[in-house]
Subunit: 250 residues, 6 copies
């Protein structure tokens, strides 16, 4: 099974973190291809950045999907997820959705531990869109500017554990989600120091991507995830034009 | 990986259907143990029957969980799911929850195809409890008394496909869930005749159970899924008493 | 009018507390029969214990319902309520549902005062299932291990009042529900020390049970609370088999 | 026990229907006082008419509450209910709220049978405000202009039964609520012709009013149903001024 | 364009505050008529007072609507809004609804700053009825008795700013609504001292009223906002009788 | 006042329709600038197309916002709306949000009339994200492939009116929203043939944009709509980089 894991951000450091954790999470026989957004920002924490990252992810996916069995969108908040899912004939899984459904299957309510104050609003909206606001115990977030997005775990590890403990003790979290690709791998390191299950978004995403391939659901030819109706397009990359437009307008 | 698949009903025929589909859905290296409820009803379609089936499932699980890595509750509606999850130190997955989250990861809305009119109310309530009422396009169900619970697929196959098509065409279903253990395996047979992805509850459940084992989340020692506080009990099977009571009352 | 009040726990002490408060709450002419679960745990605070208690309650109800006009399920969380209601031809009322609807008829929002930290998650889920999460101001709970379930009121009375006051002052409670059968009768004793109406679950349940008998709604022959379709069963008590199965399987 | 039953409409005919059904629904020892709105419309089917009826009801209640133990607002939609409850030291029960909670205690979902097309929007909004939209199976309504509001039952009885049957067969109603004071008493007459429990709003309201008096919850001195803060008022009836204003402005 | 701005309270001081802010908010060419409720209370903070204020507003509107192009209900909580809208052929806008939708168009979540503790429950219910509970970050309110309703801004200005800052810093407010007609104009004065947009209910209401007139939507002849069906009435002012009754009963 | 109206699609025909209706909807003194997406598809009806259109709109807005007082995103579904609002210091209004809030201010429930079957799922999701699913009576849509996106009104006018009437008569719509920029101007032409108010998305959007400028809310320096934290970026247009990145990465 071949998985294409796309980092919607431009940070190669974060792609490496994602790749390391993804490698530890896949089953034997699964092959990983890592891709980094060709344009965008260092890390996504706003709705605007998510839009940019989503479009970059769509371009990457259009270019490379044919060689893969499934795609993982490797940024919390799942930029572009519904769009990719709508136009691609293979399963597409996002870190947030995968983490949320995996947390639900642990039972009870979950808290999300996030890397910045600003990012919380966007996360809250994502969770609400999945209909899971009632399962959210809390979001707790770091409150200092990030020095280096690739070293958040080292620089802020103790604080992240402290936030996690507060979520369990004060907010009633039954499960913790360490959110955001910059935290990839942290759950594996610190899980034993916490008293409830700790989920890693990258682990959840590649695991659920494998599960979706295992189920091999058919590509729809009806409904709102069937290939879009044919229409004119302009200014798209050839690969994307082929997916969404089919009749490039001169 | 060893999975214990428990049929909360007493029908050996249905256990066989579940076993056949589960065998086709697992990965190499996964071993299945099938168990049938030692008491209960032929098939569950009401809240009362779900209570009985849930208790039977809890007894079986208490007896056999030590030899397994995860448990699948193999009746739609997930009788006893939260209870098992709360007291067992291994992942527990239900057909409904697994099918719902898998359907969500296909995108859009799902319809549920059910084996009897009566069963619909209970299914609707289950879906609402998961917070996913907004994702439900419709429930459509057979409207004739079932002759033989182990042969619903043969006797009603065309009608089930017809109901599925109506769900896509009239209700806006983006995914179909063929619900209920008696339909185990049907999706595999008829999926190609339908225009949207068709999910099989047994397939979803064993696949998600494997995924949960892959993630190996820790057993909680805090929160509402930690082992229950110690207290007196009476009249339980020894295995169950050990799990929920710990101090059997004379 | 004859009411059967079933304690889903095995604690005779709690049955006595229930009986005392129920006796003070009924109208002249109403007769009470008290029953204690023949198996189960000392008191229910988890989903697993609720499943056990629910099954025990169903067995008791099946055995004894013929001699009564209505049944009260006397544990907060209403273990087995929907199941009993589905198979019995007489009204069945639970402490939680009765307290919630009675609180709603006081207007505004209610807080629930509970006997243990652990019990809160289950209560929250029960309230949400009734669609009343928007009416819940807060749940506040004792945070020490219970020494003796039959003497919580004596041992923790002041603390319970303190929690109640906090719910009014800090959480905006318009009504208080003292939840859990071990607190039966406490509202009557301490109501004058609190500034909003205080509801006792047992009082609410027997009062609403009487109200349901007064209304004498017909037993449904259609819908999802009609008697379940006939089907084979095995291993049930004869009384229960008659209710849910009708055709015991050899 | 003394109940004041206020018809928020000006129709004496409807007050008589309410009185007849209320008399059949109360327990021995309960005394009824009937009051008719001193101003307003023949029957309420819009939000504007509900505002008028609510104000008229508040005036009647302010004048007469001292001689009673509880008040029933006897129009579906409960005009003025929250207002009365907020300022009066005795329980106040509305037909809609009482019917909805009573229907919930039957289990499952309910349908509402209404006397006019126009009235449906207002009913739907009332049910949603109670948080019970998820329990509503359907609203079905007469579609002809009403000839005489006091004779709807005679003139439209068969049609009302037909609508009720459709709600059970097509909409999945587990309980029926015959809504609106003009239908008072009909459930008693036609219940045996329908296959699910049929609730009469007047019966539910007087029964729940008696239940609230039985529980004798204290009048709050805190929270949002405590007596309103003192403030100046002008142009109110003396009785109302005393309740809401306390310091009539010259 | 002629706007009729109705203060549902009897306080001329507050009408002046409303008028001053409304004058600063309207466009050139818009003419204002101010009206004060002929009966009622000094300021509305309870559901009962809102009922009274709503009825007074309906009377004023019935009397004066013919000379205007739109009506503004100038009390937070929008007393009588739906009723006026239902019977009048011109747009009717309320301070709360206008402020909520305007806040939504700023993006994210809003907090409401209120003039009394008691008023919060009613505001929360209003917001929930609009379906916007998920957009509410918090309500924060003054906690001292108001000395003079027309001088709240002077007497409590610093405290209101402090509450506003807390809403931004601790509750995650993206927008602030200074709620209640007694605060009319305050946003204009203090907006520069706060770090998120600050909305004034009066400004929002007159602006949205102008917008509705600009759109000139047709008066409905169908649906639940069409003129009510003709029916008998009694005891209403002639203008109101003409609107809701049409056939005054002798 | 200067409004920048951006068509997120590449169809100049549709830009012309938008421009014509916008010109008729603005107040004297308001100046319009029309822009068409520099890349994308002919018209947006899927989530993927909305992502593309949203990114194109963000680029246009970044380039041109300095010369304007507010921006209108002129495609139903509001592609990119939250993103633009987050990074721009001027009000940004979308056709959907503007139409929904305007419909809410008409009272009751609205139906959406759409140009294609496929587009309905995306619209439904947009409405749910605004918390207004409870206000949606129905979506009804054309069911034939569109011949020419700029001539839908001419080719399908009668069918659109027929769908509108069905929404009023069968679905209970109190207001109609003719959705999608290709229908710009139609409401003005056909409103008199329908029995409830008919809203045009373009009219609503420019009117609300003017209203937002009238209110002149401050640009936030806190909360989740403050300018995004500074971070590295790559591959963005200079104007966009300045808005979201500030520190272009080499």
């Amino acid at each position: 099974m071949k998985l294409l894991v796309i980092n919607p951000n431009i940070s190669q450091d974060v792609t490496r973190l994602i790749g390391t954790e993804a490698s530890r999470s896949i089953r034997p026989g699964t092959e990983l291809t890592l891709a980094t957004a060709p344009f965008g920002v260092a890390y996504i924490e706003t709705r605007a950045e998510a839009l940019i990252g989503g479009y970059a992810t769509l371009q990457v996916a259009a270019e490379q999907y044919r060689q893969h069995d499934a795609i993982v969108v490797a940024a919390f908040g799942d930029p572009g997820l519904a769009a990719l899912r709508e136009v691609l004939p293979i399963p597409v899984v996002g870190m947030t959705e995968a983490a949320l459904v995996s947390a639900c299957m642990q039972g009870g309510r979950f808290s999300v531990i996030a890397i910045s104050q600003r990012i919380q609003a966007w996360y809250r909206e994502c969770i609400a869109e999945h209909g899971l606001a009632g399962r959210l115990a809390s979001i707790r977030a770091l409150d200092e500017p990030l020095q280096h997005i690739g070293r958040v775990q080292e620089n802020q590890g103790d604080r992240l554990i402290e936030l996690s403990r507060q979520a369990v003790e004060h907010d009633g979290a039954d499960t913790l989600i360490l959110a955001g690709a910059p935290l990839a791998g942290l759950a594996r390191d610190v899980g034993h120091r916490l008293s409830v299950p700790v989920l890693d978004g990258v682990t959840c995403a590649v695991t659920q991507a494998q599960a979706m391939v295992d189920m091999s659901p058919a590509t729809p030819s009806a409904g709102s995830y069937a290939p879009p109706p044919t229409k004119g397009c302009h200014g798209l990359t050839p690969a994307l034009a082929e997916l969404v437009g089919r009749q490039p307008v001169a």
